[in-house]
Symmetry: C2
Subunit: 261 residues, 2 copies
């Protein structure tokens, strides 16, 4: 029975939590405590991306709370895209393989406001030093090495985005050109399935700039063309930064679409 299998893991985690919080759990509501425990289990990879987690009833038994309390914890985790519910099937760890998450981290739309599939070309994948800002983002010393990826994205076969990506090295050391070129799907899907790193959120700083030399070359534009510059830091479980990305976007035919609410 799946339930018993998970029990072994979960009891460990429950007790770890118990120790950390000193019994009273800081007076957080029960459902918040359970939410934390599930998040910790996700961070510690008790359940992997795409896997089925125990049913609401099993979790309720495990945590010694009612099913309604588990449900409230799951509600929030689903709203934050950590989990995915399928009625009749169960609750699953969210992945970047799902159709619906294809444009979750890519907000570039055409004039009509629709998202299009991109054609991608990997220009570079090397172990290198990185710009100073990258070291700051990861709080790492200057001796560290990063995997540096450069990618050109085209829409309707017109180059639109040139991005430089830096990934910390112990974790992504095995990443190479062949793997990137053969992969069908989003980059975050690749990171998840081959490196066990699931991106949960990102922060972007958007500015208007003049293009760098590489953008001029690969986007085929004049050096005076205004470029939408996006500087992104992406985070995995536990708010650990695991990717820094700078992209230069040609916004003649496309725009960054954002909903405020």
């Amino acid at each position: 029975m799946v339930f018993l299998y998970h029990c072994v893991y979960m009891i460990n985690i429950m007790q770890t939590e118990h120790d950390n919080l000193g019994g009273s759990a800081q007076d957080l509501p029960l459902y918040q405590q359970i939410k934390r425990k599930i998040l910790l289990a996700l961070e510690q990879k008790v359940w992997r991306s795409g896997e089925l987690i125990p049913s609401e009833n099993d979790l309720a038994t495990l945590y010694r709370v009612s099913q309604g309390t588990v449900r409230k914890a799951l509600d929030e985790l689903v709203a934050q895209h950590f989990l995915l519910r399928r009625q009749g099937s169960g609750t699953f760890v969210a992945t970047h393989q799902e159709e619906q998450s294809k444009y979750r981290f890519l907000h570039l739309a055409n004039i009509a406001g629709n998202f299009e599939d991109s054609q991608n070309r990997i220009l570079l994948c090397a172990h290198q030093k990185a710009p100073a800002i990258v070291y700051e983002c990861f709080s790492m010393g200057p001796e560290h090495i990063f995997v540096h990826i450069r990618r050109l994205m085209s829409f309707k076969n017109q180059p639109v985005v040139l991005e430089d990506i830096w990934l910390p090295c112990p974790l992504f050391s095995e990443l190479n050109l062949e793997l990137l070129q053969s992969w069908q799907g989003t980059m975050y899907g690749l990171f998840e399935s081959h490196f066990g790193t699931h991106m949960v959120r990102a922060h972007e700083k958007i500015t208007a700039e003049l293009p760098n030399e590489i953008s001029v070359e690969f986007l085929g534009i004049a050096p005076s063309t205004p470029i939408l510059n996006i500087f992104r830091i992406a985070y995995t479980y536990g708010d650990h930064p695991v990717e820094v990305r700078q992209s230069q976007n040609l916004t003649n035919d496309y725009h960054y679409a954002n909903n405020l609410s």
Copy 2:
């Protein structure tokens, strides 16, 4: 008793809904039906911005459902910023006067990632024709007139944003320069308190451009300076568009901050 006062309104609304949906309410879950009724009441200004709405128990009695079902409807409305809960006090119609909504529709942050208060100068407030795109956004014929506002926003007394705002005319006809200049607070707060129009969401299209002549003049920049251009349509209850705004943002010292999740 406040409860009885509201009953008169609510019963009308309930019956309107009932007629529209033909009894079976399209098989929507109860809490979704109640959410719709509350949204309709907000749209029809049964309760005004900032006002207390009936308690969960009163609403439950009114709609003949359990308090838990009302709560689930309110949960979603609060998450979408339509309502605001205050424990011990009650549930209120959300406003743009609250401190927390000051930067809800202004995502410009300084290098450290913090939001700053702006100094605003109204350059223009006139009843005018508008660019063609504005007519499209409102689905209005070319005979219509709009209120056109031009505003310069500065941070640390350096001009950073120049925005042009178009508002449809029957609704905002009374808007004038004196009112705009004397108003302390956000523009959406003004629209809400003086024109009964509460913005609930907006969509932005962001591009990099060269500045228009007016931006060159008022931002004090060279015509070749890249500018972050934001084209916004803002909506009130019922997804009716009520504002079109184009802003040109100088992103030398500030950036558009966006969280993806």
